[in-house]
Each structure stands twice: as C-alpha cells, then as structure tokens.
C-alpha cells in the first residue's frame, strides 16, 4: 500500500519518498507544495492526523524541521511529511483547514519553537504562562538559567 502511495506521489508531485519504518513512509516536501500534498494524502485515505513535530537542528548547522504525521486507519499505515526550514525564515503555510485537529498542534509548535503557521486562525499562548510568550522554550538556544520567572525584588 505504501509502495502505491510512493508511486502516486512521484507521479503527481515528482517528490522522492523513502521508507522510514516498516509502516511509515517519509516524504520530503517544499513548503510551497505542502498544502497540495497534504490534501492529496487526505484524499488517499490518510485521514487521521497524529501531530506536528518540530525539531531544532540549529546547533548542528541546520534549520528547523517540521514533521506532519498522518495515519491511515483502514490500512494501518503512516506517512510522515517533512518540511525543512532555514532558521532565517520560519514560516510555513497552515494545514489546519485541511486537518482541523492539527490546529492546536500547530499552535503548540508556534509557542514552543516560534515557527509561524501562516493562516492558522489562532496563534496564541496556550500551554505557557503569559509572561513566557516569545521565549520559545523548546528551542536549543533556550537557557533555563536566563529565563527564570521574574520574581519580586528582594529588599
């Protein structure tokens, strides 16, 4: 089944994909084509979204990586769509209108990493306290010591 999707993606988008695990197919994609690809996958049975997982590769000399993980509940297969971003331009189009459950996941990725999902209707602080907005704590550059909660001045 994954072989079939692999060929279809190759024919439709010209994108190479490879096996990630026994049940998972990894498709690397440009952000311009992300929405079309996700729509295409949704129409091909990958209708259950799992999550948006962002990885910060800046200490390794890379940028940020955004992974969309989708599951096909009937065939029991996964697909992982990967978008690489450079750390200068952290924007990616939203898929929250195609997969509404991914909207809070994108929101979480935004508050933790600062990746801006263009078109997401609600990029507000969700899990973090209000004073921590804009600190992006899951980035590798985040320093626990520097960003303590502002305490009352000792006299």
């Amino acid at each position: 089944m994954l072989e079939e999707i692999k060929e279809k993606v190759k024919a439709e988008f010209g994108l190479e994909s490879k096996g990630y695990d026994t049940n998972i197919l990894l498709i690397e994609c440009e952000r311009e084509r992300l929405r079309d690809l996700v729509k295409f996958l949704k129409n091909n049975g990958f209708s259950y979204p799992h999550t948006v997982s962002v990885v910060d590769y800046t200490p390794k000399g890379g940028g940020f990586q955004v992974n969309y993980i989708l599951e096909n509940l009937n065939e029991k297969k996964f697909v992982m769509v990967r978008v690489n971003l450079s750390s200068e331009d952290l924007t990616v189009p939203t898929v929250s209108d195609i997969f509404p459950p991914l909207q809070p996941h994108e929101r979480e990725a935004w508050e933790m990493f600062g990746v801006e999902f263009i078109g997401n209707p609600r990029l507000e602080v969700m899990l973090l306290p209000d004073w921590a907005e804009g600190l992006f704590p899951l980035r590798k550059s985040y320093d626990f010591e520097k960003h303590r909660k502002p305490s009352k001045e000792k006299k």
């Binding site: 999550t51 993980i69 459950p101 899990l127 973090l128």
Partner: protein
Amino acid sequence: MGNSISLAGYTFVVEESKEISGEDLGLLQEKLLQLNWGVQHPASGPMRLKLWVDGDEVVKVDPDIGYVLRLLEKLVEYRTWINAVVNVERACFMDDFGTMAGYSIAAEKIAGVEVPKKADYVRTILCEGGRIVSHLIGLGSFVGVMGVHTPMQWALIAREKFLDAFEVYSGQRIATASIIPGGVRYEPTGKFIEKMISAVDFLEKEFIPRYAEVFIDNPTLKLRSQGIGVVPKEKAVELGLAGPALRASGVASDVRKDYPYAAYGELDFKVVTKEEGDAYARYLVLWEELIESAKIIRQAIEGLPEGEWRTKFPIKVPPGEAYVNVEWARGCFGFHLISDGGTGPYRLKMRAPSFANVWALPEIMKNVKLADVPVIFASLYMCHGDIDR
C-alpha cells in the same frame, strides 16, 4: 452571590458590563453569560473550560489548559537514555507503564537493540496492570461527576491490590521507573507474580461482578448518559479523537492489534468497540477493556518465558530517529524520538491522546445542556498530565 451556585465553584461574568435598569432588565436574560467551568470544579481537575451559555444551553466552549505544564519534552533532553524514563513516565501518574514502554521501544529501535522475550512479557503484564489501574479511576470518576462517589471508593479498593503488586516489583506504588530501554529494570520475582495474580483474582471475582450488578446496567446512569455527547463514526476521525473515545464511535483502532509491540502479537484479546458513540458507550468501552486486560495479564503470566529480563543498552546511541505508537490507557501515545549520537535524546515529541481529545471538546459540546458538560468531560477520559506534558 452567596448561594450554593457560587459555593460549587461557578462564577458568572456578564459579557459586557453595562448599567441595566428598567426596560433593559428583560434583555439581560438574552445575553450570553461566560461561565468558568473549573479550575476549582470538582470534576474539572487542573484545567478550565470557558463556557458561553445562553440560558441552559452551551453556545461555545474554549478549553484553557497549561496549569500543570512541566515541559517534559525539554527536560528529557538533559537526561541520559535510561534516566529519561523518569520524565517520560510523569506524563501521567495513573498509567506510567505505557509511556515508558513507548519511549523504550523507540530508543531500542534507534539503537538496534533487541530485548529478551521475557522482558516483552513482563512489559505486557505491567502495561496491562497500568491500564487497569487507570481505567478503574476512569470508571469511578465518570459516575463520580454525577454525584455518586461510592463506585470510586470500590474502584480504589481494587486499584490498591495492583499498586501492592507494583510495590513488590519496583519498590514504588505509582512512579515505578521500571521499564527502561533494554528491557525491564527488575527481575519479575515469584512474589510479584503471586501478588499480580491475587490482584487479578480480586478484580475478576470480587470487583467485576459486584460493580457490574450496580453500576453498569444502571437505569439512572443510562438516563443520564445515553444519547449525550454523541460522536458519529466519521465525525470521530474528523475530530481526531483518540483511544477509548474513538473506539466507542465504532472505529476499531487499537495499536496493540494494529502494530503489535511487546508480547501483544502472541496473546489473544479482542478490540472493544461500540457503535453508539455517546457518553455511555465510552463508559462501557472502559468497562469491557478492563475485563480484557485482566485476561491478557493471565495469559501473559501463563506464557512467561524463562531467561534474562534485560540486555545491555549502549551509553551512546547512533544518530537516527523513530516514531513509535503505543496503546496507552487513554489512547495511542506517539513518541517521535531523535538521537544525534549522544548520551541522551536530542529531541522527544510526545503525541498525547488527551491533548487530541480536549481540542475536540468545542465541537462535541456545541448546543448541549450545561448539566451535561461534566458528563461529556468525564466520558472523554482525559488526564491533565498528558494534556500539558
């Protein structure tokens, strides 16, 4: 408002503050009220639902979460491969075995370590024990939100027996840190197996018949929960519901069956599904899974092989990544684990089922009665620890 409503933790906030007098007084009733359901509500736990109500009807719901954020995904990056289970298991204290098993399987996949068969079986026993412990609280608190607190006490009695078994096994009752990459931490002794069997015996012979008699086919409970918060099959997938809530809508999605891990591939059990998709169906799914789990534990104890219970796990793991799902008590828990060749995880993304369920609430709770809010909330069986992580 010194009446019983405010004592129960509700606060009423009129959307716009405006002086109202004379003729306008009648219009006040037509205004939407914003209601804070939680943080102090007995059923809510450490989270809040902002409800906009029109009279008795809920118009809009907005969950306000983040009260128990510990940033576990960041803390894991400062640990070694084996120490990280301490953070991973704290995603939720009720079923800590499932999360530890998922993380360990992901780490083993990257490192290319194969665990002994005995470790797989012990993991299965522990995971199912964790599931029973968690489901018992889920059942008890579901009836508890309707104001009957007896079933919770009964469930806690049965739960204690399993906690005793965990204590014999690992020395801890709740945060056991017992499943690690490379196997399980401790030898499953005869005493542990004995305790586990006696706990399952108590569950099957004492708890299940007594509880089933009173709280399963209960007419009042049915009246209160049947037809409430109905989620049809297509809608459940569209909303991204997870775990028992998804299965109660008729979607047979169970990681234990679909992508067998540990020893589940060799054991005989069935995936519980219901077609109705209402609060009562979700309650019944928990109940039947409890019975299935007890059977799985018996099978796993019978089939427990001889041999080692752990292998050596390397200190440095080669670069790589894995995405592993496990069927945790509350649904499929995903671990996206990445190694850069160091002594600990480079990044761990946890996909929590309760996080998916809590964001389905605004859709499910549209146009329900205010009194049904706690029922729907409890039936979705969420844990605040893994909403916030």
